[in-house]
Symmetry: C2
């Protein structure tokens, strides 16, 4: 449904005619993200600054037009998809690093700075921004904040929310708020910074982000250990923690995933025959620490019954050890072109039970379900592989998805540790949260976006009472 031409003219008046697109191609291209279930926007607008964003929000409020902010478009739950049409606001022009303050360990950025670019920039001056979603070369800080992105380093360093000190954001009304600031401790009023972090663009449009940085760890060591099964690999992790080691990365890869990578790499063998689980472990810090920790890591893996333990001697070998993890995504595509990529999370000690649940799903629903993930956090990527044309398989995959979520909640876990709810997981929200808890969240949504124009149809799904378009 095309947008009223009066609205389009008003948008053009704000950002200039070059930065409003209403052609079908643009509206479709900006209407899809990594979920690959898109919906076209009615118009795409590319603001240059906070003031333009505030004016656009006012136009959308006055005309009850859905307004969907978009960063890198790398989300797996459709968070940036304008499911109700309306105005898609791409923040791509707001991509500057405004400050890197070495004295105070702070960076100030516009929302569309690519995460990997920020990491490179701060590392050049000896600092470190730990959150490292797999998409870090495409995804942007604003999107990372909106989704509270995680990554392999979360076990030691925490997720995005642990690095967000302050925000500038535009409310649906067009009001500009400033939350938090440049200090690491701040208890003045409600923590709107943390409330907006992970709110998936439904409460405000984030226009500037103040991030906490830490000193870059000067040394690291990388190890790979293989195990007969997931249970012994998790035992190694437990023994490692008992030895007071918190690795910077602790990635688990299961047999199905290993097989896919081996096939993709033309049969190159990555692990001893019979390997049921592989751990990639990286420790970092002062050189003295790294040496001591690497010894403890190897001891813990050996004691747990590792079948093989390798330690990278240099960067080239490190690169080689990591290749299995790096090649996972393209490898899975050789199984089927589409995957339902779930980021479930359970208390760490229950990871073996989660794998038992998945094994049951494979049998019950006759599906390929390779798994890998951040085992330190209990955050496992469960990839239900499907052929896009195979309706029966897709139906089985959806049934498996629901059964997976039921299993995860039975293990006191969460249906999303990294990707958020978007619209893809909205039907499952009430499986995890009680009705009064969802009502409290809706009340917060209603409070900050009373007309329901910001990213409608997300988190609460179509049943949301907060959606102005219903």
């Amino acid at each position: 449904m095309p947008l009223d031409s009066v609205i389009v003219d008003r948008l053009r008046n704000v950002v200039g005619p070059d930065f409003v697109r209403v052609d079908a191609e643009s509206c479709a291209a900006y209407g899809t993200d990594a979920l690959k279930r898109g919906h076209p926007a009615d118009a795409v607008v590319l603001p240059a600054n906070t003031s333009e964003i505030a004016r656009i929000a006012r136009i959308c409020s006055e005309t009850r037009t859905p307004l969907v902010p978009r960063g890198g478009g790398t989300g797996y739950t459709g968070g940036a998809v304008p499911v109700r049409g309306g105005v898609l606001m791409s923040l791509e022009r707001m991509n500057r690093i405004l400050a890197i303050d070495q004295d105070n360990l702070i960076a100030i950025v516009e929302p569309n700075v690519v995460t990997g670019d920020l990491q490179d920039a701060v590392e050049r001056v000896g600092l470190f921004y730990p959150p490292d979603p797999a998409s870090l070369r495409q995804s942007v800080i604003g999107g990372n904040v909106a989704e509270c992105a995680g990554g392999p380093r979360a076990f030691k360093y925490g997720v995005t929310k642990h690095y967000v000190l302050g925000l500038e954001a535009v409310l649906a009304s067009g009001e500009v708020i400033r939350t938090g600031g440049k200090v690491v401790k701040n208890v003045v009023g409600y923590d709107l910074t943390q409330l907006l972090t992970g709110s998936e663009g439904t409460l405000a449009i984030i226009t500037e982000i103040t991030l906490r940085l830490i000193p870059k760890p000067p040394a690291r060591a990388t190890l790979r250990a293989t195990f007969m099964d997931v249970t012994t690999a998790v035992l190694a992790v437990t023994q490692l923690i008992a030895r007071r080691v918190i690795p910077a990365a602790l990635e688990l890869i299961d047999a199905d995933s290993l097989a896919a990578v081996s096939a993709y790499l033309k049969g190159r063998t990555l692990a001893p025959a019979g390997t049921g689980a592989l751990l990639l472990i990286e420790v970092d810090g002062l050189p003295e620490l790294v040496g001591a920790e690497a010894v403890r890591v190897a001891d813990a893996c050996r004691d747990a019954g590792a079948t093989e333990i390798l330690r990278a001697a240099d960067d080239r070998e490190r690169d080689e050890l990591w290749s299995v993890r790096r090649e996972l995504s393209p490898s899975l595509r050789t199984i089927t072109p589409l995957k339902f990529n779930h980021d479930v999370v359970v208390p760490r000690g229950r990871v073996p039970q989660l794998f038992a649940v998945v094994e049951q799903l494979r049998r019950t629903f006759d599906l390929r379900i390779p798994c890998f993930g951040h085992v330190g956090d209990g955050n496992i990527h469960v990839n239900i592989m499907v052929n896009p044309g195979d309706e029966a398989e897709i139906a089985r995959a959806h049934a498996a998805e629901r059964a997976l979520f039921e299993g995860v909640i039975g293990l006191e876990g969460s249906i999303s540790g990294e990707h958020g709810i978007g619209f893809a997981k909205a039907p499952y929200l009430s499986m995890e949260l009680t009705a009064p808890t969802i009502e409290a969240m809706r009340a917060v949504k209603q409070a900050l976006d009373p007309l329901g124009i910001l990213n409608p149809g997300k988190i609460f799904g179509s049943a949301s009472r907060t959606s102005g378009s219903e």
Copy 2:
């Protein structure tokens, strides 16, 4: 104003007659906290569990009675003071540690577990709960969460919010919500866990807390370094960070504070003559790391121009080094019986400028203002000493307080890093936050407590539109 006897009877019906107090003595005793500016409650109620709390909230909602939750009563901004009377709900009977899950590094506690008791309990099994407010032997986890308490270890380990994984809480309506859970990554819906953390009892009554634990660091080293002035001490901190060391404690004590402690300890000399600033530095972790870091700490202090560097050889010497910090509070009481204890925070590099501001205040307002604090975070306790009977001095102290906050905000800091706003700092809220930001916070308050019965008069002060009693 006594509470309507019908309400008192209903409360007695919920918790039993022994656990409702309406005598003047109880109402006064429970109506004051560490701020020492109390207001009597109309009734004190001591519930035993969540279900009773929910029923009490419903009674208060139906009768529009203010309801003020209270933990340890150690807050410095009057957060637990029932400034509008009503029902004071002490959570003292809910003081059980429900679980310490060693496999998953989690503790589940009722709100009134004393923070130090929890620390002792988890350390006995090799785990660690880092947040360590000075009041940890009196304050309770529920209050720590409500205020988002900090402490010396925050620089390395973060503040309370970084350890809160999940909450059970009762809304003003009596609805029970459950936020977050047992997993460290969770992006399902809004982060109500973080929103409630630091909300000072104005959004919900916290009834159960799931906390993240970490392995206990097996070794530590403690150093003391003295400097001619604050600027060189801060330079040492900067050099230390440049050497990639993040101490577990990094406490700065100024000359006025040192003088008070020396006088209190009967003239025992704590530092070389002419000392303008003292740093207490503690590093912890694996033994190999602690040794390496201690060397770097000493190097950094020496390079910055330390006049003396001591390292504790054993626990007895560690205790001796820490005595100056431990004796600070009683020592300050020998200057005057009352202090306006402020917990301002600035970007760390600006701590010397903050001390320049304080020096100006000393001269302008003729006041004793000893300072000490967590210099790694830029979080400095500025103690404006006053004699309770001296009206003129109190007036000067209030003027100094306002000037301090103006100075802090000029340095891009915050007026509260640890204590929260309560009612004592409510008049200053708008100095730090813009009007639209305060409006957004009020909208959140209105959404979760539409009648304004929960802890009215706090954060937003008397001008709050959300207060049902206005």
